[in-house]
C-alpha cells in the first residue's frame, strides 16, 4: 500500500542579500494510504513549501520524502497536484486538459476516453467537454483541475488551497465533491487551506503548523470528514464537537499570527 513518509524534512531558502529563511524545520509525518489530511497555519508558515517538496518541485535541504518505500527525487505521476488557479492549459479544451496525463503516458485517446468522460460526469462537466478553458467559471475550472488530476490516477493528491478563489456556495459544493471523490477513490490526499471550517470538514487528520521556523504545531484526529461523506455538510457543522474544535484552532492560529505581527522581521 502507498505510504507517504515525510522524514525529518528541513528547508532553508538562501536569500540574495545573504540572509536566509528557515521555511521548514524537522518536519516528520507518516501519512497512511487513503488518509485525508488537511493542513492549516498562518501565512508564511511553510505549507506550500512542504507540499512542493512532497510533489518533488523543491529539494529539501535536509531529510527525505519516501513514497511506497522509494525516495522522492522529483515530480512524477504518482503525486498529482491541484493548484489554486492558473494551472490549466488554456490552449486545450476541457477534455484535452483532463486527458493530458494519459496522453503523456502514451495511452491512446480511444482507451482513455471512457475514463475521462466518466470523470467529467463525476465533477459535473459532462456538457462542457469541448469548451475552451476561458469559457468556464472559476469553480468549473477547479473541477477540471480536479478531474485532470484524477484522470492520471496518482497515489497521492496534493492540493494547495484548491478552493481558495471560489465563492462560499460553490466552495461548499466542491467540498462535498472532494469528500465523495476521496471516499470513492480511496486516494491519499493532502489539502492545504486557509479556512478552518474547510480543514475541519475535510480533514480526517488535521495538521496545524507554526511559523518561523515552519514546523508541526499540533495534530488532530477528526470525525467530521467521515460524517460528511454523502451527507449535507451543514448538518456536520451542527455536530457538538465542531464548534468547540473550531474555536480552539482559531484561537491557536490567531495567537500565532499576533506573535508574528508583534515580532519585528528578522531573516536570520
Amino acid at each position: 500500500m502507498s505510504e507517504l513518509l515525510i522524514d525529518n524534512v528541513s528547508m532553508r531558502f538562501e536569500l540574495p542579500n545573504g540572509g536566509h529563511v528557515q521555511a521548514l524545520q524537522n518536519v516528520s509525518l507518516d501519512i497512511k494510504s487513503g488518509e485525508l489530511m488537511s493542513v492549516l497555519g498562518p501565512s508564511g508558515c511553510g505549507k506550500t513549501t512542504l507540499l512542493n517538496i512532497v510533489a518533488g518541485f523543491l529539494a529539501p535541504t535536509e531529510g527525505n520524502i519516501i513514497l511506497n518505500d522509494k525516495k522522492v527525487i522529483g515530480p512524477s505521476a504518482d503525486r498529482g497536484m491541484v493548484f489554486q488557479q492558473g494551472a490549466l492549459f488554456e490552449w486545450m479544451t476541457v477534455r484535452e486538459n483532463v486527458s493530458f496525463g494519459p496522453d503523456m503516458k502514451g495511452v491512446s485517446r480511444a482507451e482513455s476516453k471512457e475514463n475521462v468522460e466518466h470523470l467529467l460526469e463525476v465533477v459535473g462537466l459532462g456538457d462542457f467537454k469541448e469548451k475552451a478553458i476561458y469559457e468556464l467559471s472559476g469553480g468549473m475550472q477547479q473541477r477540471v483541475a480536479l478531474a485532470r488530476c484524477l484522470a492520471n490516477d496518482p497515489d497521492v493528491i496534493l492540493m494547495d488551497e484548491p478552493l481558495g478563489a471560489l465563492d462560499a456556495l460553490t466552495r461548499e459544493k466542491m467540498q462535498g465533491l472532494v469528500l465523495d471523490l476521496w471516499r470513492e477513490t480511496g486516494k491519499t490526499i493532502i489539502l492545504i487551506t486557509h479556512s478552518v471550517e474547510e480543514a475541519l470538514l475535510l480533514g480526517e487528520r488535521l495538521l496545524v503548523m507554526a511559523p518561523r521556523p515552519g514546523r508541526v504545531h499540533k495534530e488532530y484526529r477528526l470525525p467530521f470528514a467521515d460524517l460528511g461523506v454523502g451527507n449535507d455538510l451543514r448538518e456536520v457543522k451542527k455536530h457538538k464537537d465542531y464548534a468547540s474544535t473550531r474555536e480552539e484552532i482559531l484561537e491557536m492560529i490567531w495567537s500565532m499570527e499576533e506573535e508574528i505581527m508583534g515580532r519585528t522581521e528578522d531573516a536570520s
Binding site: 518541485f57 515530480p75 494551472a87 490549466l88 493530458f100 496525463g101 503523456m104
Partner: protein
C-alpha cells in the same frame, strides 16, 4: 499659411461634426445605464469603443481637405483657386525728357499642368498661343504674355516699343499707380512688379490651392493608378512592384521567425544559450534596421539578397525577444502541473511552453511585420531595381507626384492589410489571448 488653414478646418470638422451629430443622432451617442458610468474609470479599455460614424467622417474629412486644396474637378467646396484666363494691366513708360505713354499688357494664364491633360479626342493639351492685340499708338506699344498658373514671368515690355530701355525709357506706373524698381502692385488677377533693374514682372494670383506638382487632385491620382495598372512603371507592372516588396517582407519575416523563434526558445530555456546570445541580441536590438542598409548594399549589392537579409535581420531580434519572453512568461504552476501529470521535458516543451508562448510570438510577429514593411520601403528608396519604394523614388525624380501618392497609398493599404491578416490569424490560432 495653407498649413494653418488645414489645421483649423480639421479642428472645425472634428468638433463641428461631433456637435452636430450628437444633436441629430442623440440616440446613438447616448450611453445608457452602467455604460455611462464606465468612463469614470479612465483608461478602461472596454469602456472605450471606436465610434464608427466618427471614423467615416474622419476619412471623408481628409478626402475633402485633399479636394479643397487642389484644383480638383470633384464638385466639393474648395478654397479660392488660382487665376486662369486673360488679364490686362497698363504700364506707363517715361522718357528722360519727361514725356510718357501708356500701353496695355494682355496676359493669358493657362493651367500649369496643361501638358498632362487630355482633350476629348485624346490629344495632350498644349500651351496656348499669346492673345492677339493691336500695337496701339504712342512710343510704348501694347504687349502680350502667356503665363502658367503659379508661375512668375519677367516681361521685356520694351521689345516692341519705339524707345528701348537703353534709350532711356523707364516704367514709372502700373494701372496709373506710380511704382519704383523693387516694388509690387496687386491687381485682381495677380501681382505686377518691377525688378531691381526696373523690368516689369507678373505673377498670376495663386489662391490657396496647391499646384499639381505639389498635390495632385484625387482624380488625378486615381487616373494615374489606372494607367499604372495598364502600363506599369519603369519596366515593371504595378503588381510586380507591389508583389516584389511584399514578397521581400514575407521572405525576410519567414527566415527571421524560422531562426529567431528557436533561438528565443533556447535563450529562454538554457543558461548557456541565454548567456551566449544575450550580448548580440542586446546589442543589435536598438540598432534600427535602416542603419544597416548601407552595409547590406556594400556587402550584397542592391539585389534581392541584400533586401531579404536586411529584413531577416529586422525581424530576427524582434522574434527572438518575443519567443524568449513567451517562454519566460510561462506560469510555473503550469510546468509543475505538467510534470506531476507525468510529462517529460520534451513533452513540456512541445505541449506547454510552445503553446503558452504563442500569444507573445504573435505580438512579436505583428511588430516585426510592421518594421519589415517600413524597412523594405526605405531600402528600396535607397537602392533597388523594382519595388514600391523604387517606384516612388524614381517618380519623385521626375516630379511625378501623383505616382508618389499612388505608391504611398498602396504602402499604407498593404501595411494595414498585413496587420489585419496577422490579427485574424491570431484570433484563430490563439483564441485564449487576453482572456486568462
Amino acid at each position: 499659411m495653407s498649413g494653418f488653414i488645414i489645421f483649423a478646418l480639421y479642428l472645425v470638422a472634428f468638433f463641428g461634426s461631433y456637435l452636430v451629430l450628437s444633436r441629430l443622432l442623440s440616440k446613438y451617442f447616448q450611453r445608457e445605464g452602467f455604460n455611462s458610468l464606465k468612463t469614470v474609470t479612465f483608461g478602461d479599455e472596454s469602456a472605450v469603443k471606436a465610434n464608427r460614424i466618427a471614423s467615416i467622417i474622419s476619412v471623408a474629412t481628409v478626402f475633402w481637405l485633399w479636394v479643397a486644396f487642389t484644383n480638383s474637378a470633384i464638385p466639393l467646396p474648395k478654397l479660392p483657386g488660382p487665376f486662369q484666363g486673360d488679364a490686362t494691366f497698363t504700364y506707363t513708360a517715361t522718357l528722360e525728357d519727361g514725356t510718357s505713354d501708356d500701353a496695355t499688357v494682355t496676359v493669358r494664364v493657362y493651367r500649369e499642368d496643361i501638358q498632362q491633360t487630355v482633350d476629348a479626342e485624346g490629344n495632350p493639351g498644349r500651351e496656348p498661343d499669346a492673345p492677339e492685340v493691336e500695337p496701339g499708338d504712342g512710343f510704348a506699344k501694347n504687349d502680350t504674355l502667356t503665363a502658367a498658373r503659379y508661375s512668375f514671368k519677367v516681361l521685356n515690355v520694351w521689345s516692341n516699343d519705339e524707345v528701348s530701355k537703353k534709350g532711356g525709357s523707364t516704367v514709372t506706373a502700373i494701372n496709373g499707380i506710380p511704382i519704383a524698381p523693387g516694388e509690387k502692385i496687386d491687381i485682381p488677377e495677380g501681382t505686377v512688379g518691377l525688378t531691381d533693374k526696373g523690368t516689369p514682372t507678373f505673377a498670376p494670383a495663386t489662391g490657396l490651392r496647391m499646384a499639381r506638382l505639389y498635390l495632385p487632385a484625387p482624380e488625378v491620382v486615381m487616373e494615374r493608378f489606372i494607367r499604372l495598372n495598364k502600363e506599369g512603371y519603369q519596366g515593371f507592372t504595378l503588381w510586380e512592384h507591389t508583389w516584389k516588396s511584399v514578397s521581400r517582407v514575407l521572405w525576410g519575416f519567414l527566415l527571421g521567425s524560422l531562426i529567431g523563434i528557436p533561438l528565443g526558445y533556447a535563450m529562454g530555456l538554457t543558461n548557456w544559450s541565454r548567456g551566449w546570445f544575450d550580448p548580440i541580441v542586446e546589442f543589435m536590438r536598438p540598432v534600427p534596421p535602416l542603419a544597416l542598409i548601407p552595409l547590406m548594399i556594400i556587402w550584397f549589392g542592391i539585389g534581392e539578397v541584400s533586401k531579404v537579409i536586411l529584413l531577416f535581420l529586422a525581424a530576427l531580434w524582434i522574434m527572438i525577444i518575443a519567443a524568449r519572453s513567451g517562454v519566460s512568461g510561462v506560469a510555473i504552476a503550469k510546468v509543475h502541473a505538467a510534470y506531476s501529470l507525468g510529462a517529460s521535458k520534451w513533452q513540456i516543451l512541445s505541449k506547454v511552453i510552445v503553446p503558452n508562448s504563442l500569444p507573445e510570438i504573435f505580438t512579436g510577429a505583428r511588430v516585426a511585420m510592421g518594421v519589415c514593411w517600413g524597412t523594405v520601403v526605405a531600402a528600396e528608396l535607397v537602392a533597388a531595381e523594382v519595388g514600391l519604394g523604387k517606384m516612388i523614388v524614381v517618380a519623385s525624380k521626375f516630379q511625378l507626384t501623383d505616382i508618389v501618392l499612388v505608391g504611398i497609398i498602396l504602402i499604407g493599404v498593404i501595411g494595414f492589410l498585413i496587420d489585419v491578416g496577422v490579427r485574424a490569424l491570431e484570433t484563430w490560432l490563439v483564441p485564449w489571448k487576453g482572456k486568462v
